[in-house]
Amino acid sequence: MIREYRTIEEVAGPLMLVKQVDGVKYDELGEIELPTGEVRRCRVLEVNGRDVLVQLFESSAGLNIAESKVRFSGHGVELPVSQNMLGRVFNGMGEPIDGGAKLIPEKKLDINGTPINPAARYYPSEFIQTGVSTIDGLNTLVRGQKLPIFSGSGLPHANLAAQIARQAKVRGTDSKFAVVFAAIGITFEEADFFISDFKKTGAIDRTVLFINLASDAAIERISTPRMALTAAEYLAFECDMHVLVILTDITNYAEALREVSAARKEVPGRRGYPGYLYTDLATMYERAGRKMGSEGSITMIPILTMPEDDKTHPIPDLTGYITEGQIILSREMYRKGYMPPVDVLPSLSRLKDKGIGEGKTREDHAGTMNQLFSSYARGREAKELMVVLGEAALTPVDRLYAKFADAFEAEYINQGFYENRSIEETLDLGWRLLSILPKSEMKRIKPEIIEKYWVKKGE
C-alpha cells in the first residue's frame, strides 16, 4: 500500500525535508500532490532516521507545506521506452510534448542505468566518416567513442554537431542508425536550429529528442541527459541500433548540479562545484560504448561551452579526463572566417590509433596525421616568431613552414559546414599541403609511404 505523508517540514531551493516517514529507500522516486491537485516529482537524496531529504525536479513555486501530500513510489526514476520513441519529442522528464499519442512502453528502465562491466566492452575501432577533415584526418571518431566539443559562447558548435549528425556514416555498412538529442537548458533558437536541421534532412524520423529549454526548471536538467541516455541504451543494446547521442549543453547540467549541492550545504570543490562532479559526469559519459551480446553502439558527442574559453575550468577539465579526447573550437579561427573553427593542436581523439590505417582508412593515415600535426605546430611557432622579428629572421625552412600553416588553415581546416569530404579526399589534401615543405622534413612518415604518395610540385 502506498502511504501519503503530510509531514513536509521544510522547503528550501530545490530541497524538501519530510518527517516521520517509514520504509523509504535511498534514490526512490516520490510524488508531491499540491492542494491544487497538481503533481510534481522528487527523488530521495538522504534517509536519516525518519527524516527524508528529497530533491525536487520542478520548481517549488506554489508548494504549500501544510496542505501538500507526498507519496513514495517504491522505485527509482524510470523512463518508459519503446522503438516508437523514434521521431518523437519529449520534455526533460521524458514526457511527450509533441502533441502525439501517448507512448505505449515496451518496458520501463531506471534512468541511472548500471555500469558496463569493463570485461564486457568491445574496444571501439570502427571508423566513422564525418566528412569533416579536421575530425576524420586528425581526430578520428570511432563507433562507441565519447568525443565532446569544447566550445565558447558565440561559437558555432551547433553547426558542427549538426554537420556530424548529418554526414556521419560507417562506410561499407548498412546498419540501423539513430540519433538521440538532449537539449539541456539551451535556448529555443538553438533547439529549433537542430530540430529544423533534422527535419530538413529527414533525420527526424530516426531521432529521439529530449528538450529542456532555458526557460524550463533548471533542476529538471539533472535528469534530462540520463533520460536521453536511457533511451539511447535501449535503442543501442536492445534494438541493435547505432546511436549517436548529442548532449548540449553540459555546462548547464553542471550548474544545476551545483545548485543542488549548494542547497545541501556540501563542502564545495573548485569554483563551487561539488567534489563528486567528476564521478557524476563519468556515470553519464561512460554509458557510451559497445558491449558484448549486442550489435549496437552508443557514440556520444557532448557539447559544452567553456566559461571565458577557459579549458581549465572544472567542467571542461573534468570532462576531458573522462572522455576519449576533445574537439576544441577556436575563436581565432572563427574570426578568420574558417569553418568549422576547430583548434587543431589541442584537439585530440584518443581512440584514433585503432580506427585508422590499412583496411580501415588508408595505410598513410597515421604517418600523415602526425606529420600534419607537427608541421602545423612548427608553422605556428614560425609565424609567432615572424610577428616579433619579421620574416627575414626566419630560416628558409621555417618560412616554408609558415606558408604551410597558412595554407593548412585556409584549405584543410576551412571547409564550411556543408562540404562532405571523403577520407580519401582529406588524405590527398593533406599530401598536397605537405608538398609545400621539403621532402626531407617528412620525418614522421615511413620512407616507402612517402615514395608512394608524395605529390610532386605542379601536379
Binding site: Y26, G113, N117, Y122, R270, R287, G289, Y321, L348
Partner: protein, 593 residues
C-alpha cells in the same frame, strides 16, 4: 565468531549509518540490506557504525539489516590471480559477466579465485622440516612464465607434519604444519590477507638496479629503480595513460599489477584485449601471462575506488614475497583521492585543502611506502622488489593542487607531462626541464657495469644541452637566431636532435615503441658523435648552416626506427656517412677560403 547484526539509520550516497553495532570491529566487512551489498565500517560512535558501501546504495532504506562478517577487507592470494581482471574489491569481472551479463548488477557474490580449477602442486619441502614464515613449500606453474611459489603464511611457521605433491583446488589441503603453540594448521594453495595491512618482510634494501622500460626519455634521463616510486602528473590529453600502458607492457619486471582507478572503461578494455596479443620481449610469451588487472572504472561505485589501490598493492606484495620484481601501476591516484574526499565530506569531517581530508598525505605516503626492494620472509634470504608508479590528474593541469604536491613529497621520480609538448605531438610529453629522478646517482654503478662506462656522462650531457637550449631559446625569441654564435647554433641543433631523434618515441610503432638499453646507448653515441664532429668542422671553418643541413641528419633521425636485429651494422653505415659528409663540408669550406 559472534555475528553482529544492526539496523540502518541513515543512507547518504555510499555512506550508511547503522545502529546496534557495538560489538563490531573497526574496518570489518559488513553486508548491507537484502541485496547483501558489501561495505566496510570506517567509524564507530558508541552503538553506531558508519559504513562505506562498495556498491550503489539505491533502494536501501532505514531499518534494513546490516550483518558484520567479523573480518577485515581481505584479498585471496593464490594461483589464478594472473591474467585475471578484478574490480576494486577483488571480484572477478569475467566470471561476473558470465553470470549476470554485460552490466554490473549489485550484491554479486563470486569468489576471487576459481574454486573449481585444479592446479598441479609440486612439493619442495619435506615432511618433518622446520619451516618459518615465507619458506617455500613448493610451486605451481600459474602461467607458462610464472612459477607460483606456495609459501608458509606469515605467523604460521612450525614443523611440517605432512605435504604432498599432487593436483589440488585452491581450497584443498595440501599439507599440515604444527605451530609452536602445538596447534595443527592446514595449508592450502590460497592465503587471505587484509588489504589495509602491508605484508611483512625481513628487511628493506636501497634500490640499486634500474627498472628498464625501453622508453628512452625514462631510461636515459629520468630512470626509476626496481623497488622505486614514481608519479606521472599531467593534464588530460598529455598522454598519461599511454605512458602507463607502455610501462605495463615493456618494464623488465616479472609481474605487473595494473590498477585502473576511476578511469575510462575503454582503457581497461584496451589492456584486456591488447595484452594477450603482445609478446613479452623477455619471455617470448604473451604479456597477459604476467599481468593482473584491477578495474574500477569511473562509472563504478566510488567507495570501491578507494579500496582498489589497496587491493592492487596487496596482490603485488604477495608476488614480491615470492622473490619477484613487481610493478604496480595506478591510473589515477587523483580519482582515489577524490573518493577519499567524497567519503570525508559525507562523514562531515573538517576539510583540509580544496576539500580533501587532512589525512590525504599520510594515506598517500602509506601507499607508496609499501613499495621497495626487500629481503623477503623465509630462510633462503631471497630478494623481491615492488615498484609503484601512480598517475596524477591535476585539475586544470595545475600541479600546485594538493594531490600532486602530497605525492611529490613522497615519490622519488617525477615525470611531468606537458600539454604544450603534446600539442606539438612530442610524445612521450615528459617535460625535460621540470622532471627529475632521484635515482640517477644510485643507479650509476649498475649502468656503468651493465650498459657503458660513459652512460651517465652521455645522459647528463643530454640534460645539460636541453637546459642550454631553453636558455638560448629566450635569446632567439628576442633577437633571432642569426645573433647567436656558431657554437650556440650548434647547441640548438644538437638539442633538436636529442628531442626529435632520441626523446620522441612513437608508442604505437612496433620497433620504436620499445628500445633496448644498448640501442638507446648507440643512438646517444650517434647524436654526440655528430656533435663532436660538427663542432670540430666548424672550428676548421665549415659553415654552420651546411653542417646543420647535412643529408646524414635525416638518417640519424630515422635511426630509431631501425630494427634491433641489424641496428649495429646500420649505425656503422650512418657513422661512416657522417664522417665522409663532414670531411667533404670541411674541405669545401677550406677550398673556398
Amino acid at each position: 565468531m559472534e555475528e553482529v547484526t544492526g539496523k540502518i539509520l541513515k543512507v547518504s550516497g555510499p555512506l550508511v549509518v547503522a545502529e546496534g553495532m557495538r560489538n563490531a570491529n573497526m574496518f570489518d566487512v559488513v553486508r548491507v540490506g537484502e541485496k547483501r551489498l558489501i561495505g566496510e565500517i570506517i567509524e564507530m560512535h558508541g552503538d553506531r557504525a558508519s559504513i562505506q558501501v562498495y556498491e550503489e546504495t539505491a533502494g536501501i532504506g532505514r531499518g534494513d539489516v546490516v550483518v558484520s562478517t567479523g573480518e577485515p577487507l581481505s584479498v585471496e592470494l593464490g594461483p589464478g590471480l594472473i591474467t585475471n581482471i578484478y574490480d576494486g574489491i577483488q571480484r572477478p569481472l569475467e566470471k561476473i559477466r558470465e553470470k549476470v551479463g554485460s552490466n554490473l548488477t549489485r550484491g554479486i557474490d563470486e569468489a576471487a579465485l576459481d574454486r573449481d580449477k585444479v592446479w598441479h602442486f609440486e612439493a619442495e619441502a619435506n615432511t618433518g622440516d622446520i619451516v618459518e614464515p615465507g619458506d617455500i613449500l613448493g610451486y605451481v606453474w600459474e602461467t607458462e612464465v610464472i612459477k607460483h611459489k606456495v609459501m608458509v603464511a606469515p605467523k604460521k611457521g612450525g614443523t611440517l607434519v605432512s605435504l604432498a605433491s599432487g593436483d589440488y583446488k585452491v581450497t584443498d589441503i595440501i599439507g599440515k604444519i604444527k605451530l609452536e603453540s602445538g596447534r595443527i594448521e592446514n595449508v592450502t594453495l590460497m592465503q587471505k590477507w587484509p588489504v589495509r595491512v602491508s605484508r611483512p618482510y625481513k628487511e628493506k634494501l636501497p634500490p640499486l638496479e634500474p627498472m628498464i622500460t625501453g622508453q628512452r626519455s625514462i631510461d636515459a634521463l629520468f630512470p626509476i629503480a626496481k623497488g622505486g616510486t614514481a608519479c606521472v602528473p599531467g593534464p588530460f590529453g598529455s598522454g598519461k595513460t599511454v605512458v602507463q600502458h607502455q610501462l605495463a607492457k615493456w618494464s623488465d619486471v616479472d609481474i605487473v599489477v595494473y590498477i585502473g582507478c576511476g578511469e575510462r572503461g575503454n582503457e581497461m578494455t584496451d589492456v584486456l584485449r591488447e595484452f594477450p596479443e603482445l609478446t613479452d620481449p623477455r619471455t617470448g610469451k604473451s604479456l597477459m601471462e604476467r599481468t593482473v588487472l584491477i578495474a574500477n572504472t569511473s562509472d563504478m561505485p566510488v567507495a570501491a575506488r578507494e579500496a582498489s589501490i589497496y587491493t592492487g598493492i596487496t596482490i603485488a606484495e604477495y608476488y614480491r614475497d615470492m622473490g619477484y620484481a613487481v610493478a604496480v601501476i595506478a591510473d589515477s591516484t587523483s580519482r582515489w583521492a577524490e573518493a577519499l574526499r567524497e567519503m570525508s565530506g559525507r562523514l562531515e569531517e573538517m576539510p583540509g585543502e580544496e576539500g580533501y581530508p587532512a589525512y590525504l598525505t599520510s594515506r598517500l605516503a602509506g601507499f607508496y611506502e609499501r613499495a621497495g626492494k626487500v629481503i623477503c620472509l623465509g630462510s633462503d634470504g631471497r630478494e623481491g622488489a615492488l615498484s609503484a608508479i601512480g598517475a596524477v590528474s591535476p585539475q586544470g593541469g595545475d600541479i600546485s593542487e594538493p594531490v600532486t604536491q602530497a605525492t611529490l613529497r613522497i615519490v622519488k621520480v617525477f615525470w611531468g607531462l606537458d600539454s604544450s609538448l603534446a600539442y606539438r605531438r612530442h610524445f612521450p610529453a615528459i617535460n625535460w626541464l621540470n622532471s627529475y629522478s632521484l635515482y640517477r646517482d644510485r643507479l650509476s654503478d649498475w649502468c656503468a657495469e651493465n650498459i657503458a662506462n660513459d652512460w651517465m656522462t652521455l645522459t647528463g650531457k643530454c640534460l645539460k644541452t636541453l637546459q642550454l637550449e631553453s636558455d638560448l631559446d629566450e635569446i632567439v625569441k628576442l633577437v633571432g637566431v642569426d645573433a647567436l654564435s656558431a657554437d650556440d647554433r650548434m647547441t640548438l641543433e644538437v638539442a633538436r636532435s636529442i628531442r626529435e631523434d632520441f626523446l620522441q618515441q612513437y608508442a604505437f610503432d612496433d620497433i620504436d615503441g620499445y628500445t633496448p638499453l644498448d640501442k638507446q646507448y648507440a643512438l646517444l653515441r650517434l647524436i654526440f658523435s655528430y656533435e663532436d664532429k660538427a663542432r670540430k668542422a666548424i672550428s676548421e671553418g665549415a659553415d654552420v648552416q651546411t653542417i646543420a643541413d647535412l643529408p646524414v641528419r635525416e638518417a640519424i633521425g630515422r635511426a630509431k626506427a631501425i630494427p634491433y636485429e641489424n641496428y649495429k651494422a646500420e649505425f656503422e653505415k650512418i657513422e661512416a656517412e657522417l664522417a665522409s659528409e663532414i670531411e667533404k663540408a670541411v674541405s669545401e669550406a677550406q677550398r673556398e677560403l
